[in-house]
Structures are given as structure tokens and as C-alpha cells.
């Protein structure tokens, strides 16, 4: 048994006191926020609020210091080599759009290839599609193996085509499966590719050491890591960040503007146009402080225990077919009820105040490959309790009973 104290952990989250009848199993969509994250935003607005960077005045300098301290916090969190490798974005989606737009013409030339996996979220598909065709760049996909993981043999064959970019999710948001990202990145590097990791789901499973991992870009969203909405991070190795064409132009990202032409400022400013989400960055820093108080290994072990308990219960309910292989999951179980549409199951769980998602989870190509209309996703977090697993299993039994 993990020595992690989930009940104590849960106390930090006001949401649960305010929603005592609900079982929240939708953390993969967004996590709940500890009071200290909320307080950090509140304190900023009540005490320090001022715009950053431009200020002669001390209030603005304090706001800037707090904002830049948030950047330092993220740098330490990922162990980035330099603070200018941390770009604040509005989220993972914005980060991928900066990447897809920014690599075209500079790194990616007509005829080049990008390699992603069949497990990707739309954020790691659609931005590429927006630009690939007009730039003559080809998007290749690593298919699934029978374990619903990327097929590593085919991966090797696709790497032989020398993709310029390999962009992979660390953890599948639809299934929870943890990709063998270390070895996959190594293989990509060996093939000479620039590597990108979508950490939206993965960062709460395992924080990368971006100097140890062979990863050139890493993206995640604050709101899935106990932080606020509207803030995310694009980490990039300096030499690659410098090659990105800015997606956004405006204040702060230029060093010189005339009506004829503008020249860009140094990183990180170059990729952060306009007034940033200052309070959001400060909230994200508070979230990082919060989560670093706890032992990640213990948390993961605890989540594993919840998954085991859930999986054991599922096997007692006739007709349920998990898609997720629990032993390779970071906290998610996705399942089907034989012959039924996932939406029906989710509605019956909702009626019993179990908050889950049904559908294709912004991973339509995955479900197309599986030839399924979607699945019902149960996403467990360290604030979930064994008792909630039991309640969920009972609710599932009642729901399948009705659908039978």
C-alpha cells in the first residue's frame, strides 16, 4: 500500500467541499485547483496587479518580478538549461500551433516529413494539418499495436524515411497509456529528427528532465496540472526556439517597429506577444510549488492502487470491455459496454453524479482506427479515494443493469 495520504491531499481542494455528492473522474479534461493556487491569483489581483515589463514604476517591477519568477519556477520544474527556454502560452494547443506555424519554412521544407502516433490528441494533429499541405510537408502516423500502443516496428520503418520532426504524446488522453517515450525519443534522435513531446497528460505523471530526455520541445497546460485556465508552457531548446517564426506579433515581442519593418526581441519575449496571462503564470507557479511538496512516486503508486481496485471491480460487471490496459495506464481507464453507445453509459453515470466523459476525447483518428464510436473515460487523480472507486463501480453496475 502506498503511504500517500489521499484524504489529506484532497483537503487542499475546495471543490470537493462544495460538491460533496459528486465523484469527479474527469481530471484528464481539467484538474481541480488547490486553494493556494486560487489564493496566488487572488493575491496578485488584490495587491500587486500591474502590467509587466514596460514599467518604470515599482508596482510594474514587482509584477514583472513575480511573472518572471514564475518562469524560473517552470525552468526548475523541467530542469531547462535557461529561463529563456520557457515560453508562456495560453495552453498546449497554442504551443502546438506556435510549433507547427513556426517550423514551416524555417525547419520544414517541401517534401519533409513529420511523424506522429495514432494516439495523438487533436492538438498534435490539426495544427500540422493547417500548414502541412500548403507547405508540401507530409504527415506520417505510427499505427497501433495490439496493446494499443505505438507499433515500434513500424515506427522504426517510418524513422527510416528520415522525418524532420517526431511529435509524440507522453500519455494518451483517450486511453491513459504511457508511451515508451524515452526509447522512442532516442530512436527519433538517432534518426536525426527534432523531437516534440505533448506533455498535457504526461506532466502530472512524470515531469521530464529536459536536459536528460532527448526532447527538443515539450508542451503542457496549467489547467491540467492543478493550475489555472488560459496558461500553458512551450519549452524548447534555445537553438530550436530561435528558429521558430513567431506565430503572434505585437507588443513586447519586437525590439524595433517601424511601418516598414520590425525586428524581433530576444527570447523569451520574441514568442510572447501582447500582455501575457500574468495572473495565470503566477497561478501556475503556485501549482508547481503545490505539487512539488508531494512525492511523485508515491502519488503514482497510489493512483495505480485505485486503478487496480477499479479494474478488479470492472471484471465483475458483465459486458464491460476496458480498452485501457491498466498496467500501462497513468490513471485513466477507458471502456466500452458491449453493443452500447458510450454516451448512454455516461448519461446514466451522470445521473448518479459520477463525472466522466464519453466520446472520442479529441482523438477521433484513434477511435476511427479502433472502429469504435468512442469510449467512456474514467480519469483518476490523487484526490480520488478508494471509496469513490466503490461508488463508481456500483453506479456502473446500476447503469449496465438499465441498459441491458
Amino acid at each position: 500500500m502506498s503511504s500517500f495520504d489521499a484524504l489529506a491531499f484532497r483537503q487542499f481542494f475546495p471543490f470537493f467541499n462544495n460538491n460533496p455528492d459528486w465523484v469527479y473522474l474527469d481530471t484528464a479534461a481539467t484538474s481541480q485547483k488547490p486553494q493556494q493556487v486560487i489564493d496566488a491569483e487572488l493575491a496578485f489581483y488584490q495587491r500587486q496587479n500591474s502590467n509587466v515589463h514596460r514599467g518604470a514604476h515599482q508596482l510594474s517591477q514587482h509584477a514583472t518580478a513575480a511573472f518572471e519568477a514564475a518562469r524560473d519556477k517552470v525552468q526548475q520544474f523541467l530542469n531547462a538549461a535557461s529561463r529563456s527556454e520557457i515560453i508562456f502560452t495560453s495552453g498546449t494547443t497554442a504551443a502546438f500551433n506556435q510549433l507547427a506555424f513556426g517550423l514551416m519554412d524555417t525547419v520544414l521544407k517541401p517534401g519533409d516529413r513529420i511523424l506522429i502516433s495514432a494516439l495523438e490528441h487533436h492538438a498534435n494533429i490539426v495544427p500540422w494539418q493547417l500548414h502541412c499541405q500548403s507547405h508540401g510537408v507530409q504527415l506520417d502516423v505510427i499505427p497501433l499495436d495490439p496493446q494499443l500502443m505505438p507499433d515500434l516496428d513500424v515506427y522504426q520503418q517510418l524513422l527510416a524515411l528520415k522525418p524532420k520532426i517526431v511529435s509524440l504524446t507522453q500519455v494518451s488522453n483517450a486511453l491513459g497509456h504511457i508511451l515508451p517515450i524515452g526509447s522512442m525519443l532516442q530512436a527519433a534522435k538517432a534518426a536525426g529528427a527534432i523531437t516534440i513531446v505533448d506533455g498535457a497528460q504526461g506532466v502530472s505523471w512524470q515531469v521530464p528532465d529536459v536536459q536528460l530526455w532527448p526532447v527538443d520541445f515539450y508542451c503542457f497546460s496549467g489547467h491540467k496540472l492543478y493550475g489555472p485556465t488560459g496558461i500553458g508552457v512551450l519549452y524548447g531548446k534555445q537553438r530550436y526556439l530561435e528558429q521558430l517564426k513567431p506565430l503572434l506579433g505585437g507588443g513586447e515581442m519586437i525590439s524595433d517597429v517601424s511601418f516598414q519593418r520590425s525586428s524581433f526581441a530576444a527570447l523569451p519575449a520574441r514568442l510572447e506577444a501582447g500582455t501575457p496571462n500574468i495572473a495565470g503564470a503566477i497561478g501556475l507557479a503556485a501549482a508547481i510549488d503545490f505539487i512539488r511538496q508531494f512525492d511523485a512516486r508515491q502519488i503514482n503508486q497510489y493512483k495505480g492502487e485505485l486503478l487496480q481496485q477499479f479494474a478488479a471491480g470492472l471484471s465483475q460487471i458483465p459486458g464491460l470491455r476496458p480498452l485501457t490496459r491498466v498496467e500501462q495506464s497513468a490513471g485513466i481507464v477507458s471502456l466500452q459496454l458491449a453493443g452500447e453507445h458510450p454516451n448512454d453509459l455516461a448519461m446514466l453515470l451522470n445521473e448518479q453524479k459520477i463525472a466522466v466523459r464519453a466520446g472520442s476525447h479529441c482523438a477521433m483518428p484513434l477511435f476511427a482506427a479502433l472502429q469504435l464510436p468512442g469510449a467512456v473515460r474514467f480519469a483518476f487523480a490523487p484526490y480520488n479515494l478508494p471509496a469513490e472507486v466503490d461508488v463508481t463501480l456500483q453506479a456502473l453496475a446500476a447503469a449496465t443493469e438499465i441498459l441491458r
Binding site: 452500447e340 453507445h341 458510450p342 454516451n343 448512454d344 455516461a346 448519461m347 446514466l348 445521473e351 448518479q352 466523459r357 464519453a358 466520446g359 464510436p373 468512442g374 446500476a398 443493469e401 438499465i402 441498459l403
Partner: protein
């Protein structure tokens, strides 16, 4: 083909209005409510696979539904055939149809569907959520009759 579906739908809706709607209003446990909803859905004809075409598709984020429309040229009354791959949604669509089918554009403009859903304790299903197939369907019906 469409005529046949409309006729079958009409039969189903009449059944529903007479027998099931009153039942929905009675206090029952939640399980019976959903059993009833799924029952309702079964009384509507299923759209044949070959008619499940993109042009009829109404996409909620979680399940697909289809809408076919016919306006009677003389009376101007609107008739719809609705289907969904999710059973509970299909039941809710059946209820929606009870209030919508066979009405003129003017009548539909006056219709306060949420009042009816309220009366049946089904209000939450008509929320703003884009992910919710019902709202999407209602919007599609409204845009269809305007077109």
C-alpha cells in the same frame, strides 16, 4: 422512403404522446425514467444506414444524430425524422419531436420547448452545452425551418 419514415414517426409519436409522456410526469425512480426514455426511442423508426449521410448529420461532441426534414407544401407544416446512435438521446429526441412535428413555422417560432422539458423534469438536457446533442438538434431544427 422519407414519406414512409415520416408516417412511421407520426405513429410512434402518437403512441408516445398518449402513453409514455404522462408516465414521464409521474414521480418514478431515476432508473424507470431512463428505461422509459429508451423505450420512447425505440418507437421511432431507425434511419437506414444508407440514409445516414453527412448532409443529415448533426454532430454533438459525444454522439451522432441525423435530421431529415419535409415541409408539407399546402399546409406549410414541418415534419422531421430524427435518429441518434445513443439510445437515451434518441428518447429525448422523440420527446422533442412530440412538440415539434406537424407544426407550422409560426407555431414553431412561438414554441417554448424548455417549458415542456421543464414540466417533464428534463430541463438539464436542453442546456447551452455544445457537447449536448439535444441543443445542437434544436438549433438545426430552427435553422432548417428558416432556410
Amino acid at each position: 422512403m422519407l414519406q414512409q419514415l415520416i408516417a412511421d414517426t407520426a405513429t410512434g409519436l402518437q403512441q408516445i404522446a398518449e402513453h409514455e409522456l404522462p408516465l414521464l410526469q409521474q414521480p418514478a425512480d431515476w432508473q424507470s425514467k431512463y428505461r422509459l426514455l429508451m423505450q420512447l426511442g425505440k418507437q421511432l423508426p431507425a434511419l437506414p444506414e444508407k440514409m445516414r449521410q453527412t448532409e443529415y448529420l448533426v454532430r454533438g461532441c459525444e454522439s451522432r444524430a441525423w435530421l431529415l426534414h419535409y415541409q408539407e407544401p399546402v399546409s406549410g407544416k414541418h415534419y422531421f425524422v430524427l435518429d441518434s446512435e445513443a439510445r437515451i438521446v434518441k428518447g429525448l429526441l422523440a420527446i422533442m419531436l412530440c412538440f415539434v412535428n406537424g407544426k407550422t413555422g409560426a407555431e414553431l417560432a412561438e414554441l417554448d420547448l424548455s417549458r415542456h422539458f421543464d414540466a417533464l423534469n428534463l430541463r438539464p438536457y436542453l442546456s447551452q452545452s455544445r457537447g449536448n446533442g439535444l441543443t445542437m438538434m434544436l438549433q438545426r431544427i430552427q435553422s432548417t425551418i428558416k432556410a
